[in-house]
Amino acid sequence: MPVPMRTALVPFATLPLAACAGRQSALDPQGLQSDEILRTLFIFLIVAAVVWIAVVIVLCVSMLRRKRTADQPLALDAPFEQATGRVVFALGAATLVIVLGLSILSYAGQRTVFAKDERALTLKIIGHQWWWEVRYEDDSPDKSFVTANEIRIPTGQPVRVELESADVIHSFWVPSLTGKMDLITGQKNELQFTAKNAGVYRGQCAEFCGLQHAHMAFAVLALSPDEFGRWRDHENQSVSSPTNPLGKQGEQLFRGRGCALCHTIRGTLAGGQLGPDLTHVGSRTTVAAGTLPMSSATLAAWIADPQHIKPGNNMPRMPLQSDDLIAIVHYLEQLK
């Protein structure tokens, strides 16, 4: 009697997850914009620290200094009151000067961060509950393609992402590269950034978008321009049919068991539009929008029971026999 797939795969779901998610920190700038923001942040931080320490010192001194002795609350010293008034006024004026200075500084930083470069590589990102659709668009349609939950960009070249939402509001945030920008229903936003160094940078949705907001991450892979060019050419190609029997079986099952109703694999009959495009899914670094690192085990665990790993997400649990699952996983893995 076949073991129900869910039970058989439970151990996979508890596998220790290897660290491969990439960096996600505003304190670890790897882009021109995040650099600029961190510089502004440090200046503000220094001003804030100086003011706070000064206030605490004055507070401590005012508590420790020797005081007049008589308890006559209304016996005030007129010259002291006047002098105090002047000091308070001067400090207020100083506050005004500081905040105006910081405002100007902030605006200068803002201009740099949001500066536009017309030569930028443009891609469109559409937020879905709870994954990211990534569209590389080109003037010629045969060079346009769609992928999901992973963005590859060339280093040293400005990238413009156009941000839209298919459902609720999301927010695109890759702190190591730049600040965030919302994806708003019925509105087109955009964001530009430039990665300085090659590497994997993790991004995550930053606007609460419902049940699985916590599991809506993605990876940005910054590649050298050459490498990026090669990847783009490869990614643009449709997949060829698998040659080995297990792969063939997997392809048939993918169509036959309903996967293709939601997912597209270019070059095959699978053309569903509801879920992420899986054309080169085998080459991606994560499963389920940054929830698990990519491997046979995690992919199998995800397909066997998506509701266990990311409860409430829109991918239904398909009843699959163990052999079928293995075939499907094998098929998807070789979609490099």
Binding site: T84, T95, L102, A214
Partner: protein, 637 residues
């Protein structure tokens, strides 16, 4: 005829001492028994209920925070499901903002303002009773919904389209939106009472520049409420309409826009912060004067700062929307306007520091909380300057940095003063002192626990942790700081348990307080603790900003109010010169009945638009009962 009646009316100048007290107390007392309790319009009884209820919601909201901290203490924790967690943070925010922070500040005002301005009751005392019932019913409605798993789960900000029918087809957002309506009605009612009481019922001689700073703060707050709350009522009502009768205010496919919600929400939401913070500053000024043993430095500076803060608070809501794709220059201007609020806030801090500098501080628990307030709030204010900057905000917006920032501002700026205020006014309200020993433990645990819980969140935000995530993966390096934060939260929660123990113990066996245990200067300390139903046997006359410091032995009074019926003395707005005697309403059951009818109407109308039809007649009946002319003497004259 009326002349005859007037001549026979007994006034308080005909009586003295105990005879006068007994007589006035008799006419102002709330009727005994259960029904009497439901009919009460005494601002002290209503205020006490308000305070206790708001603190009950604080404990509930705090409990949710503790549960969330348990969930986040380690990565991939399964203590709470995603659904539960989302409900919890929504309930935590909504409870703390709408059922604790705003009501508790208004509650203190309801209790203290009439005492501090030297009158016998708030203006519109029945409206006050109605306000309390609406607040209670709205709060219970939210929490009962939560208990039966219809608790809102779209955040305390309920952004559309997530909160629209399409993406949340349950009743949860309706519950949230209608809870807003309840609490807004309650808050608006109190604001009107405060404004009228402060403008028209001040003791003779309490000119505008002799009003206690706490009262000034509540006056400014009341105006903020009146201008900010309508915005959220429009927003939440439109949301209910979108969900219930398919209007399209927020639907971008039909010409609406989701950002409309955000503008309306934050046009309320940012002043809301000051609605919570400004009363806190009033408490700080009151406590500081008493324990620094001198008047607060810069009385006019503080008042102008409060008013300036009030105005500015309406001009910076957009800083909640810096990452929604606004025009750059516009966003930059809101950076400047947001930072500008540091000027009036800073001026107040400087005045308080100068007060401590010159004073002879007496380090009792209320003052400890004020000192804690300065340390924490200044840090929160400075991180506020950071988030006001557009470039910095693009990184820290919707991360734990912001969570840290607003807890520093709100807990530092409002809860620390509030707990100080509890220690300060508890003797007045109950007649007994809180334990000083437990108070010190309370303070130090709160201070340390708070900072351990919230300071690490600044760093968490900068190293990439977004808000409102129910869990995070093990490879994110957030676990240690989260564990530390959860530990701090446990200490912080324990400090509130100590406060609760202290209150319960002291209610039973605390030292008797006497009228003025702290030798404070304002009028609430001129009457007994707790104050009698009439507050003062005779209305005091004020000749100085700190009347009780001027001459402790005898406070001058006016006479001439009726001792046969409830009367208050109305005075002129600026100079507080006596104008007329005005009847003050008797206890009544109608405010409660009206609140029940309104509650049925409000709750019904999230299920069917027909509730607007069948829900209004009972309200009309209750209101007719409420306003039925009683034929007071004054009306006959």
């Amino acid at each position: 005829m009326s002349m005859v009646a007037e001549q026979h009316e007994l006034r308080d100048d005909a009586l003295n001492g105990l005879q006068l007290s007994t007589r006035v107390e008799g006419i102002w007392r709330t009727p005994s028994g259960f029904l009497g309790a439901l009919m009460s319009v005494d601002h002290k009884i209503v205020g006490r209920r308000y305070i206790v209820t708001a603190f009950a919601f604080l404990l509930l909201g705090g409990l949710l925070a503790v549960l969330m901290r348990v969930q986040l203490a380690r990565s991939e924790n399964t203590f709470l499901s995603a659904d539960k967690y989302n409900q919890l943070f929504t309930m935590h925010g909504s409870t703390m903002m709408f059922l604790f922070a705003v009501p508790v500040m208004e509650a203190f005002a309801v209790y203290l303002v009439p005492l501090m301005v030297g009158t016998r009751n708030l203006a519109f005392p029945r409206l006050n009773a109605f306000s309390y019932w609406m607040f209670l019913f709205g709060g219970c409605f939210l929490w009962i919904s939560f208990a039966v798993n219809v608790g809102p789960d779209v955040g305390w900000f309920a952004y559309v389209p997530l909160a629209s029918l399409q993406y949340t087809p349950t009743k949860r957002p309706d519950v949230w939106a209608q809870m807003i309506t309840f609490t807004e009605v309650a808050a608006l009612a109190v604001s009107v009472e405060i404004v009228v009481t402060v403008f028209k019922q001040r003791a003779p001689g309490m000119t505008l520049d002799r009003i206690p700073l706490f009262v000034w703060a509540m006056l400014v707050t009341a105006f903020l409420v009146m201008f900010a709350m309508p915005s959220i009522m429009v927003a939440s009502t439109s949301l209910i309409l979108d969900r219930l009768v398919n209007t399209r205010f927020y639907d971008s496919s039909s010409g609406g826009h989701p950002l409309l919600w955000q503008h309306l929400f934050w046009f309320f939401g940012h002043p809301e912060v000051y609605i919570i913070f400004i009363p806190g500053t009033g408490m700080v000024s009151a406590i500081l004067a008493t324990f620094a043993r001198r008047p607060v430095v810069g009385y006019p500076v503080i008042i102008l700062s409060l008013i300036a803060t009030g105005f500015l608070s309406f001009g910076l809501w957009v800083h909640h929307m810096f990452v929604t794709g606004l025009p750059q220059l516009g966003a930059g201007l809101f950076t400047a306007s947001s930072m500008l609020i540091a000027v009036p806030s800073g001026l107040q801090i400087f005045c308080w520091l100068a007060t401590l500098w010159d004073g002879r501080p007496v380090y009792r628990t209320p003052l400890l909380f004020v000192i804690g307030f300065i340390v924490i709030f200044v840090l929160g204010g400075l991180s506020g300057v950071m988030v006001a900057s557009v470039p910095i905000d693009t990184q820290v917006h919707d991360t734990y940095f912001v969570v840290a920032h607003f807890h520093y501002v709100l807990i530092g700026g409002a809860v620390f003063p509030l707990i100080g205020a509890v220690y300060y006014w508890f003797p007045k309200i109950t007649g007994r002192m809180l334990s000083e020993r437990l108070g010190r433990w309370n303070f130090w645990l709160a201070f340390v626990g708070f900072n351990v819980a919230f300071f690490p969140m600044h760093i968490l935000g900068l190293i990439g942790m977004p808000r409102r995530v129910y869990t995070y993966t093990a490879d994110m390096d957030w676990a240690h700081l989260n564990l530390l934060s959860s530990g701090g939260a446990a200490i912080f929660a324990f400090s509130f348990a100590l406060l609760l123990v202290n209150v319960i113990q002291s209610l039973r066996s605390g030292t008797l307080a006497g009228d003025n245990p702290w030798d404070a200067s304002t009028l609430e300390w001129a009457t007994s603790s707790p104050p009698p139903p009439q507050n003062f046997d005779r209305i005091p006359v004020v000749k100085h900003r700190d009347p009780l410091w001027l001459d402790n032995a005898s406070l001058p009074v006016v006479a001439g109010l009726s001792v046969e019926r409830r009367e208050v003395l109305l005075t002129s707005l600026a100079e507080a010169e006596p104008q007329i005697r005005e009847a003050s309403p008797e206890p009544s059951i109608w405010p409660l009945l009206t609140a029940i009818a309104t509650t049925v109407f409000f709750i019904g109308s999230i299920f069917t638009p027909w509730a607007v039809l069948w829900g209004t007649p009972p309200m009309a009946v209750a209101l007719i009962g409420w306003f039925w002319p009683a034929g007071s003497k004054e009306d006959e004259e």
